[in-house]
Each structure stands twice: as C-alpha cells, then as structure tokens.
Subunit: 325 residues, 2 copies
Amino acid sequence: MSKTTVSRALNGYPEVNDKTRQRVLEAAREAGYEANPMARSLAVGRSNVLGIIYPLLPADLGDSMFLDVVGGMSEALEAARMNLIIAPVSQANELPSYEQMVRGKRVDGLVVSRTMVHDERIAYLCKAGFPFVAHGRTRLDTPYAWFDYDNESGIRLALGRLLSLGHQRIGLLSAPLQMNFACQRKESFLAMMAEAGLRADPRWMIGDTIDRRSGYQAMQQLLECTDRPTAVVVDNHLSGVGAVRALMDAGIEIGKEMSVIVWGSVADTLVGLDVTTIDQPDARRAGARMSQMLLSLIEGAPAESLQELWQPVLLAGATAGSCPH
Amino acid sequence: MSKTTVSRALNGYPEVNDKTRQRVLEAAREAGYEANPMARSLAVGRSNVLGIIYPLLPADLGDSMFLDVVGGMSEALEAARMNLIIAPVSQANELPSYEQMVRGKRVDGLVVSRTMVHDERIAYLCKAGFPFVAHGRTRLDTPYAWFDYDNESGIRLALGRLLSLGHQRIGLLSAPLQMNFACQRKESFLAMMAEAGLRADPRWMIGDTIDRRSGYQAMQQLLECTDRPTAVVVDNHLSGVGAVRALMDAGIEIGKEMSVIVWGSVADTLVGLDVTTIDQPDARRAGARMSQMLLSLIEGAPAESLQELWQPVLLAGATAGSCPH
DNA sequence: TTGAAAGCGCTAACAG
DNA sequence: CTGTTAGCGCTTTCAA
C-alpha cells in the first residue's frame, strides 16, 4: 500500500475505499503512528497552529479575564483540530517575534492582545498580509478583523448610574492612554460628562494606573484633594483593586462617602466586598468567537466582515451609592 | 551562487570564504530573508523550540511564581536562540497533547510543571525517551531530570519557627496530596511533629485546599474546632490568602490569637499585611536554570546529572507570633 | 572553497 | 479507487 493511500485515508479524503481506510486506520493506531506535522506543513503550506505572542507582564498573563479568553480559544480550537500556542517573549523582543512568526510560517494566524491606539504590531501584520484578529481595536485606515467590548457603552453605563445617584464630582482612573481601551474609555467619559453639563476636573483624572500599586496611590491622591470627587470610575480591574484597598485603608465608607465603579471583575480578589462593576460577560465564549473569526479569516473571509462588538453590562453592587450632601 | 553556499554562510559554517559570507549576509538582510524553520527542522531533525503543555487552570497560570519562572526561561532561551512555547490545553487533553508533541517532534524538549506523586505524563515521556525536565519531583524508579525546591527543609523552617515560639497545637492546610509538593510537605510536617513529640491532630490537617475559597473554608473549619490550633502552616499561597482572609473576617488577631505561615508569596495579594512566608527565591533564575538543564539534556547529558534542589527561605513577618496561653 | 544531488516526511497533480 | 511522480525549503554527504 502506497504512502499516498495512507495519507488519503488518514486525512479523510472521500475517494478511498472504506475497507482500505479501515485497514489503514487500524494499522496506524496499532503502530501509534501520527503524521509528522512539520513535513505536513511544509508540503501543504499550513501549520494548523494559531498563536499569541505574549510579552510576560505578570499583570496581564495573571489576568483571569485573559485566561478565560485563552481557555475559550483553545477549547474551540481543539474541536476544530487546530492547536493554540502562546509564545512568551521579553517585551523588547515583541515586534521581532512577530516578524519571525510571520516569516517562519510556524502559525497560520495570530491574535493580537492588548491593542494600542497606534499599534506597530498590527501595522506590521497588515503590511505583511498576515491573518490576525485584534483583541481590542486600534487606529487604522485599512479594515482589519477585531473583537472588542464596547468601551463607550460601558462607560455610559457606569457614568449613567453615578449621575442618576446624584453624583456630580466624578473622577476617573485610567490605564496608560496609549492602550486603546483606556483611550476610548476616557474619551467616552469626557464626552458624557460634557453632555451632562459637568466639568471633568483634571485633578480627578489620573492616568497610568495599571496595577494594584498605582491604583492604590491614585486613589490616595484623590483623597488628598481639597474638594475631592464623590465618585470614581476605574477603567481596569487591577487598579480597581488597589483603589478600593486605598479607600478601605483610609477608613472611607465605600458607597457612602465615596462611590466606586470598576471596569472588570474584582470578585476573586476582593472577597466579600460587593463591588459595582462593568463586566465583560462570556469571556470564554469571546475566546471561542475570536478563534472562529481567525479561522474564517484564514479561509479567506474579508476582514471587514469580521468585526465584532460585544456589550458590557453593569453589575450593581454596594460600592456605588447616592451622592452625600 | 548555490543554495548550499547560502545555507552554509547563514549558518556560520567555517568553510565559506569571508567575502562570500559577507555578500550572502548582506543580501539576506536586504531581502529580509530568513530560513523557513519548518523546512530546516524537517531536514535537521530539530526544531529549536522547547515547550510547556499547560492545562488552563486559572489558579495556576495566574500564579505569579509560574509567570516568573516562565519569564526566566524564555529570557534564557532567547539568548540561546531557542524559542519557548506554551500550549494551553483543556485538562482532559493533557496526556494526548504530550503524545502529540512527542510524536510530532514540534519541540525538542518539554518542561513538566505541577508534578504529581504518580505522574503519567512523566512516565510516558520516560518510556518514549523524550527529553524533559520536571519542575518538581515525582515517584519514579528510573533517573530523570528535575528541578525542585526542598520541600522538607521549607517545612522544617516553618515548623521550627512555630515551635520556637512555643506553639504545640499546629495545623496544616494541604493542596491535594496527589501533587508531589503537597505530599512531601505533609510528610515532612508529620515527621517533624513526631520528632518534637507532638501530636498532629487529624482535625487540624485539612487537604484539598488549592485556591482562595477552599483555603478560606478550611480556616473557618479550623476556627470552629472546640480546641483549635494556635498556629497553622499553609502549603500553598492561594489558599494561604484565603486562610488569612478568613482570620481577618473572623476578627482574629493574626500573630497573636492565631499564627500563620504560608508557603509562597502572598505580598501582592494581601497588601499591607506582613505575612510570615516560606519563599522560593530567584524564580526567574530558576526558570533560566531549568532551560539550561533541558538544553544539556537534549545535547545528551545524562539525566542523573541534572537534578537540582534549591533551598527555600523563611521570610519573617508579623503573622507568626508567640503562642498565647 | 563551492556546487550537484539526495533526502527529511509529507501532500497534490496526474495517470492508470 | 490506487499508485507514481514531483515537489514543499532546507541541510548534508560527496565530488570537483
């Protein structure tokens, strides 16, 4: 029996005789044989592997949201007989790693996480014509495939809640504004404050709060303002944890003296504290969806048909209360 | 100029003329050429990739220790012009993924994390003769390469401290005992208690505490004992966080009414609380060392020469105090 | 010091 | 339905 027939039998081509196929499958199983994926990729020009290049910042990989998304992706891909790999690289090596991945064709497509407003990785992938899905949007002229939660509507949910509770002096803790989500959330914040006829005091808007420590310090800084805000929106969960901790440590009654709404789940860290939250539901499904999108893209679907915006929701908790007088 | 010469020039073979080499390198750089790693691997039988197969349990990938180790590995490997990939798989697919990796030869070696007392993954790799380094030990007759921190001495440090503070009623919260570290730590605990002539009350030894929730509940359970212990050792940091939280919520004065020593760093979670800790220092260096070990193994070094035991240290904090009367 | 040819393990086009 | 032939892009003998 020839290589060819074996190959066809194993790859489920329709033209092989059922009895032959059975024999081949049986023999393969007994011998524990499995096609060498390298040789296959070389021949067929496809690796059946999707990748994520991930600079190892503990703050991110430790992010349970990211983990859920990746979990959803890998699960969906297992079903599609594809593999997912994460390439952890040093931050300095991020762009070079993209180039290497693309030139080396070790993966058929990439997911780009943590998008920047101006993102050189995405610019490169576009230029190279390499399939990718951006997890988060970016500023770009050419159409590209992306998956994101609606930053604007999320902020509107949060701010709407605070306004309806009577708050007028509202602060914002932002992640670095080069990050697209932080930028969009801040812009939405400013827009909605303006619509409400309120002034967004610059002293109440603190940037670069991306982890617990910086969130903690930012909240301390707000507390020291002579006329401090009565409510604060935090645009990411890690600094949200820090901010809430700062309030606890300062003996502030959260939800009374100061209200807080955090974007992202903090439940597993702040046990027993019911934080009002903007939540991105269905993280695993989101991951599954992104892998489907990437597969479609590889199959040749146009990028402009692969743009998906999911809606965040407000989970009411105890940390957003009426404005004190 | 032939393929052959180009290949030799790029791979730094000594026999090529210096001028030729310069020309080739120049041309390659201009064209942005880089050898196709698939084809290379196929020809040479080596992929220059090392891997970690990782079932996505948030509790683990979120572990900052693991992140540091992986960071150290990838950094060291970048220097050695090797690549590291993490393959996140569903737990059910863990062993099949090992088989696939081995048969597929997509990686030259593997690091096996979270070793079990009886570990089928390691048994399989041994049987298959595939190069691997175990991150943590296991029960096995044949020699294998491993890297671990000394579980016994760590427990001795913790227990020694508590004994010298006068404690006699000491509890232990353990991760599932199939996990090698949990098993060794518990055995050391029992041995040292026996040496000290103390009884290890079964009601004070609670198992399967591997995350915050279970750690929290276990500590609650201890608190409900009619004659509860005066000190507790927790063998992993996640349940350590839960356990400490339980004490805080119960209004127990930690370090006075109840002492706690946790194995693993909890500083980034329990901000502002100075927990007495058994620490595994130099996580990044440990990662670097493990990748070196794996590389040596691939080069043909004997596994029995690649076994490394590092010493944990006790970081004195405020949660271990004298035994109350 | 360079080149020609064989082959790594597979798939795909083309005959039979 | 099955086999033969020709590559995929590289490295590596072996000759020149």
